[in-house]
């Protein structure tokens, strides 16, 4: 059986591991690195639960092979909160707006939306719904997620107080 050695930087730490070519990137993160924040839902690119940032852009980790991440940079949901006591503004907004119930889809939503909230100060409902169309949530009905995105954009783009 073919095994390949790869070097991947995840959340600022560089890991060197031997993997089978068929190892999905999602399974590599969860099983080989123990980063179980990235969730696996449908495993064929529909639900968005496994979304990560690949070289800074949101991508489905279940639709990539771990060997393809060799030499690349990945950010997972574990990197969002600055420390154990504080949440990222996007996480804070999800919490305050009740944008999660079971929470299974939440890591995917957060990673999909992170570049969006960073670049949008005052998005319309339509823009928000388009931005989250690639993620499925079976609990919330999405309305609270839309509210959370608005709140996150306000938190992140608020004028700095002197």
């Amino acid at each position: 059986m073919q095994k390949l050695t790869i070097e991947v930087t995840v959340n600022g730490t560089t890991y060197r591991r031997e993997v089978e070519p068929r190892r999905l990137l999602s399974d590599f993160l969860r099983h080989d690195l123990g980063l179980t924040g990235t969730h696996v839902g449908c495993e064929h690119g529909v639900c968005g639960a496994c979304t990560i940032l690949f070289d800074g852009e949101p991508a489905r980790s279940c639709l990539m092979l771990a060997v393809q991440a060799d030499g690349h940079t990945i950010t997972t949901v574990e990197a969002l909160a600055p420390d154990e006591k504080h949440l990222h503004p996007l996480q804070q907004a999800f919490r305050e707006a009740h944008a999660l119930q079971c929470g299974y889809c939440t890591p995917g939503f957060l990673m999909s939306l992170l570049p969006f909230v960073e670049t949008h100060a005052n998005p319309t409902d339509e823009e928000i719904r388009e931005a989250l169309a690639g993620n499925l949530c079976r609990c919330t009905g999405y309305q609270h997620i839309v509210e959370a995105v608005k709140l996150a954009c306000r938190l992140m783009h608020a004028p700095q107080e002197a």
Partner: protein, 288 residues
Amino acid sequence: MKPPPFEYVAAHSLEEALDALATHGWDAKLLAGGQSLIPVLNFRLASPAVLIDLNPVRELAFVEANGVLRIGAMTRQRTLERHEHIARYAPLITAAMPFVAHPQIRTRGTIGGSLAHCDPAAELPAVCLALDATLVARSHRGERTIPARDFFFGLFMTALEPDEILTEIRIPPMTPDTRYAFREVARRHGDFALAGVALTLRLDAEGRIQSPRVALFGVHDAAVLAESAMRLLDGATPSEELLREAAHAVANDIEPSSDVHASAEYRTHLAQVLTARALHDALAQTTE
């Protein structure tokens, strides 16, 4: 829901990819963006012995505009969406990109992968038909250019030979007076369309329609030009009646299938309505 075992070959140049393809032939699959192939592997609908990864081949990712718009087959869809050359010389592509799956998919998905995969409901094959694109294929036997209209054979079938790699898409730049429109209906934004249309046309000094190209997707075994509608439109003066007739005529050019999402009758109806609306869009467009 995990891929079956395969041997992985990372190609670092087109030559390496062609070598690997020549060596492994029918047992090999080319991996482009992987947004369709990996699900197929995860479902075990295919179990190729060898996967040849084109992602490290840098020479296949480019956008150049020098008389003709040239797009490397491994150019990411997200790049197309944001590229100024695309917005300037092929704005139909820019208009269609937000409908191609989701941003998370476009990050990885490539134009060449979408064309070579030839999903009947995919947007990019229809866009290439409407733009009269030419596709370039390479093998150890040499280079071959294939007009888009001769490329898409049917469900997941293209004119590519087993030893060929799609390397480039060449598009005649849209002239400033070219009008265009893109419309589709999908159950959820970013899903594969139930039906859709991409079209281009020009108006001459007398206001008659010139070189109409109406491409439909989701309503045939591959993206298809609506030749009957195009014949009606070509040289004609736009009127409500003409648009109605042309939209009605697309039924002659398509053979939609029924599935859990929509019946063939409904898909035909959608194709007709979308064609009429897209023609209206294009005619209402202001050009330079």
